[in-house]
Every structure is written in structure tokens, then in C-alpha cells.
Symmetry: C2
Subunit: 137 residues, 2 copies
DNA sequence: CGGAATCCTGCCTGATACTG
DNA sequence: CAGTATCAGGCAGGATTCCG
């Protein structure tokens, strides 16, 4: 780190400390931080259906890079949400499946999904109203 | 666009189209995309307690920049989750409060929060186990 | 006070190539 | 097949400044 950036870094660290206090109040932050990862939800949805191999997930969540997929899978495994099973066949086989913990999280995510399906049209209406209002004024 | 990147761009667009199909299957994605915004949840939590003014939210969610706060508030307002009320006093007063729609989303978010509080220790245990396992091997 | 506009940095992300 | 390593770019996000 250069001297020039020291002050900025310092202030950032300071701010980080400050809002950590608020984060303590809201423990959901840490889990939401996980769900924030764009791919986490998709992978979770995919594997929730049935255990999948690496390649299958790649295809199911088409658009994800190996890097992100691996990173996501590692994170989910680390958090005990997915289990990774290696079968030492000749071309090595790796299967990912949900853990009970992962299942329970998936249930909650389903709750959000339900909310989304129920209220999505209201949100769209609100957006259109807002946009036309802004466009008109 | 150069000729050299045409192929890559093409494939990217292709992939995008593909996983859009998957996203259609998972409508929760759009709402999750909202919740993914780091600050959305925090702001939602803050305003859910009581209507707040811009400055109050800034302090409550200490660490957020005006840019991100404004951006977040605009997004939430656009989606009809928050309402923005301007009182033309001498120093203008702007108050944000939850809409019924916002309240209902907050209820769901509370569900996540509950899950988080209930299972956070399990996740931490899993993390420690994973880390020590990796560190040992 | 509440916000808009600008600039600028760093990280997230993706593409590519290589390994076991 | 299931990754790892490396490189390059874009864009989210922060700091700063100015306006109503």
C-alpha cells in the first residue's frame, strides 16, 4: 500500500468498523451476503432438484464460468450447504448434493420465490407507474 | 466491436439467452437480484422500524455512501417498496416510509433473518470444520 | 438538508490455457 | 471430467464537489 492511499484506506476501515456494529444487529446480513452471490441461488435451485455432477451444473446454470461455479460450489460446501462427493473412477466423478442444512435454506429461498411470484406484478406496475411519472414530469 | 471479439461476444450473448431461459424458471431471481444489493436489506431493515429521513438512514446504515443510499432508495421507491415524501420546509425534509408491499417483503426477509439466526452457528461450525480440514490436509 | 454529477479505483467477472 | 492459474476488462461502488 502506498502512502497516498493510507488515509483513504484508513477511513474505509473506520467506516467498516462502524457499520459492523449495525451488522451485528442484523445477523441476516451474513446469510444475505451469501445469497447476494448471483450464482448461489441458481446453483442452489439446480442441485435442490437432484444431486448433480459438475458438468451437469455447468449446463443447468448455463452462462456461469467455471471459475465462478467452482468458487460458488466451494463457498456452499464450506458453509455446509452442499456436500461434495468424489468418486475415483478413471475419469474422476464429482457429485454435489444438498445437505439437510442446504435443504432448509432452500425452503426459505422458496418462500422468497413464492413472494416474488405473488407480488412480481405489483412491482412491475409500480415500476411502470414510476417510470411514466418520471418521464412525464 | 472488432472482428476479433465478435466470436466471444456472440458466445456470450448466446449463453446469456440460454440462462435467461433458466431464469424464467426461477422467478425469484428478479427479487433476489434486488435483495442482492448489499444495502437494500439494511435500508429495508432500518426503515421498517420507523419512517426515517435521509440523514437518519445515512447514520443508521453507517458506511453507505450517499451515492449508494440514493441509488438504493430510488430503486426501492421505483419498485413500490418505499414511499418518499417531500415536505417543502425551509431546509427541505424528505421522509421515507414502508409501503404495504414493502412491509410484506420485509416479513419475508424476516424469515431469512430468522433462518440465519437459527442456523448461523451451524454454518460457522461447518466453516471451521472445512477450514481446519483444508489447513490440515 | 438532500441530492446530482463527476471522476477514479479496485474488485468481480469472464476468457483462455494448462493439469491430473 | 473436474478443476487450477493467469490475464484483461468492465462496472460497481467510493470520494469529492456542487446545486436547490
Amino acid at each position: 500500500m502506498t502512502v497516498a492511499t493510507a488515509t483513504a484506506a484508513r477511513r474505509r476501515a473506520q467506516a467498516k468498523t462502524e457499520y459492523n456494529a449495525f451488522l451485528q444487529v442484523c445477523p441476516s446480513r451474513q446469510v444475505l451476503a451469501r445469497l447476494s452471490d448471483k450464482w448461489v441461488t441458481l446453483v442452489l435451485c439446480a442441485v435442490a432438484e437432484r444431486p448433480m455432477r459438475y458438468g451437469e451444473i455447468t449446463r443447468a446454470v448455463a452462462g456461469v464460468s467455471q471459475k465462478m461455479l467452482t468458487q460458488t460450489l466451494r463457498g456452499l460446501e464450506r458453509d455446509g450447504l452442499l456436500s461434495r462427493e468424489v468418486t475415483p473412477t478413471v475419469p474422476v466423478t464429482v457429485t454435489y448434493s444438498m445437505t439437510p442444512l442446504g435443504e432448509s435454506l432452500h425452503t426459505v429461498v422458496e418462500g422468497i420465490k413464492d413472494w416474488a411470484e405473488t407480488h412480481m406484478d405489483q412491482i412491475n406496475d409500480a415500476r411502470e407507474a414510476y417510470d411514466s411519472r418520471v418521464g412525464t414530469e
